[in-house]
């Protein structure tokens, strides 16, 4: 066990866990932030994506010790009242079906748009590799373009 401090959604947190615990499980089980999801545990599906110092990061294989003193943003902290352009575009396009992967999709897309405000389809294909088993990909693509236009 070790005390590890980092910032989550603007708030300083100190957790006392075994240092190899993936950030995902610290967020979910220790801090109660369950919007970030467990999908595969091997960084394949992206359901666990958060922003780590602004960069989209898969947290299921990231030991919490690696985020000491860093800044983490989860889906819960992306905006107040679903005001982020990506969330608004997701609502406009009625993207989610089961919804389980969507926190990760939205975080990945928000990070993409922060760096590349008007991504081409090829850039979207290369950057958004999260798995959606409901097959919402067509609406995800439409929502990304909508968000890029500011909804």
């Amino acid at each position: 066990m070790a005390a590890i401090s980092f910032t989550v959604n603007g708030k300083r947190e100190t957790v006392n866990v075994t240092p190899d615990t993936p950030l995902l499980w610290v967020l979910r089980d220790t801090l109660g932030l369950t919007g970030t999801k467990f999908g595969c545990g091997i960084a394949q599906c992206g359901a666990c994506t958060v922003h780590l110092d602004g960069v989209a990061t898969r947290t299921c294989v990231l030991p919490v010790s690696a985020v000491a003193n860093k800044r983490v943003t989860t889906i819960e902290g992306l905006s107040k009242n679903r005001a982020h352009a990506v969330q608004r575009a997701w609502i406009e396009e009625d993207v989610p079906q089961c919804g389980y992967c969507q926190s990760g999709q939205i975080m990945a897309v928000a990070a993409l748009l922060a760096k590349t405000p008007h991504p081409s389809d090829a850039e979207i294909d290369a950057q958004i590799t999260n798995i959606c088993r409901c097959g919402t990909y067509q609406r995800i693509r439409a929502a990304i373009h909508r968000a890029a236009k500011g909804v």
């Binding site: 079906q97 389980y100 088993r133």
Partner: protein, 714 residues
Amino acid sequence: MSAPARVSRREFLETAGAVGATLVIGFQLPITGRGAGARAVGPFAPNAWLRIGADDSVLVVVDRSEMGQGVTTALPMLLAEELDADWTKVKIESAPVAKEYANPLFGMQGTGGSTSVRAAWTPLRKAGAAAREMLVAAAADRWKVDKATCRTERGAVIHPVTNRRASYGQLVAAAAALPVPENPSLKHPKDWKILGTPVRRLDTPAKVDGSAEFGIDVKVPGMRVAVVARSPVRGGKVATFDATKAKAVPGVHDVVQISSGIAVVADGYWNARKGRDALTVTWDEGPNAQVSSASISQLLAQRADDKAPVARHDGDADAALASAVSKVSADYELPFLAHATMEPQNCTAQVRADGVEIWAPTQFQTGAQGIGAKIGGVPPEKVKVHTTYLGGGFGRRFELDFIQEALETSKAVGGAPVKVIWSREDDTQQDQYRPASFHRLRAGLDASGQPVAWAHAFAAPSIMVRVFGPGVIKNGIDEETVEAAVGMPYAVPNVQVNYALTDLGIPVGFWRSVNNSFNWFVVESFIDELAAAAKQDPVEYRRRLLTKAPRHLGVLTLAAEKAQWGTPLPAGRARGVAVCKAFESYVAEVAEVSLGSDGQPRVHRVVCAVDCGPVVNPSIVTAQMESAIVYGLTAALWGEITIENGRAKQSNFHDYRMLRLAEMPVVEVHIVASSDAQGGVGEPGTPPIAPAVCNALFALTGKRIRKLPIGKLV
């Protein structure tokens, strides 16, 4: 529930209680006199779909599981339409387990078989219409006017002549005292304002801010998290185990044996997982230790012949084959498939002496209640089932294995609430798979290339036998497994279908579109082979054989037209088609494919036509077709669970590959305007995609794909 669109039952009752009145309508209640209405102001009434508060809130209790297919929007739309509700005021709540919420098509509370809208179509509209009539009557009484001179719109009763208006919330106290009309009249479809429109889903807001509560997110005071070690050989059991090292892992509280294996119970998932890794278990591998994909293939191929029990017999296929001008034969083989729901299996349960509580992403509430009662040793009414959102279902969550594990573990640790979480590897390797199957097809053609005989013999395990036992077998046949093979829609005078029910030792389960997924692949591949043998266009060939199947013909014609069938494509591309009927809906798909420089197929465009009868929400129907196509396409391209020494070889997304955004074809969905019998939409889009793609690859390369997945062959 933290989701903004959902109101907890307690919150609702507190609100309703504070303002004094609630109107409750439940249409499956025995409705006589003041039945349901009179209870409204009184205590909690769980057997009801609608509660209107004095604050004008409209709460719809949804008695089907939301797994992405849109029931938490479609079912409230049915009720809200007839109620003339203000759609912006509609909130949703998940139903508890209760007889009133049984699926009328199953006689049990469960979600599957693409039944939800069909089953709710009349009862939920009547529930809304009855409430509306009561509210109108209450307003007419208050205003001393003839109720026929009142009308309703967006959550209010209006008396146009005197320009008076009362919101539903202002009328609930009076309406609740009125008798519930037994047979309220329903609107003519031309008067619909909500039904048939693409209103946005009610569950979307909670699914874009992380607040939607899935099973894996459940938190109960005092809860532990368990990870279970199960026999890697399917059907194996614990021989011995040593928990010393597992118990030494920090955070691990208990290690207990349950019927499926050894549960390691800890303060959270990670420590439970580490505890399981530290466990030493020796397994009694049981009868399946030698089962492999090769032995399965061999057995199925041996058994798929015309000596197997007969499932369909028209005319004399053997004689017609013997005298046919030409003959075509082909063998097809399809693999086991895992469901791979995005949310791995999980369940939270608490087994106390005085009752059992279950929080689960389940498709089968009656089953959960039953197993809760059995393990808890309590009567069913002492079992509470909370249905969360489901992170994908696809039939996997009709099973009770993950619920049983949570119940047994909670009981074994003395009644603390326990959440069992499966890893992705557990989920992939301990699934009940879509059955593997082997099919022998033979056809005879006349001089013009028309089929005069069709013989289809196949071998596969039966899901129904695994789930419900051998009692489902009639004359050697389980009629579910042969659906689509028997439903082969083409006009052929001599048809024979034989089915050899074959247990392979590997458990099989309901996988989106179930037996339709393999039988339509075979039917739609083979009819394409016949068209090719007859040197005829695959669409025209089918059309001529579907003149007595108007709804099949309708979707086929529409899909072909919208796909510009027959027009030239760029070099290196080709189209293929397939049609199906499943769950009372009709779907045709045209796939446009090419081959990449790596020899892998690439699907560029899929044009889909669907006839599901009256449409509740076209946006949801479209989304379900897109979804079903992705599900079927993923399986067609790469899906395969192989077995070695009784163990599933694949374990996670690196070797059980999923389609991603870059591989997504453009999907265009066209809905047939139809007032014919209503069908489901969650599953019927899946069966045609694999044959449509394989038929397109044949058109492109001249090579037939008779064994799935495609990835191996091209």
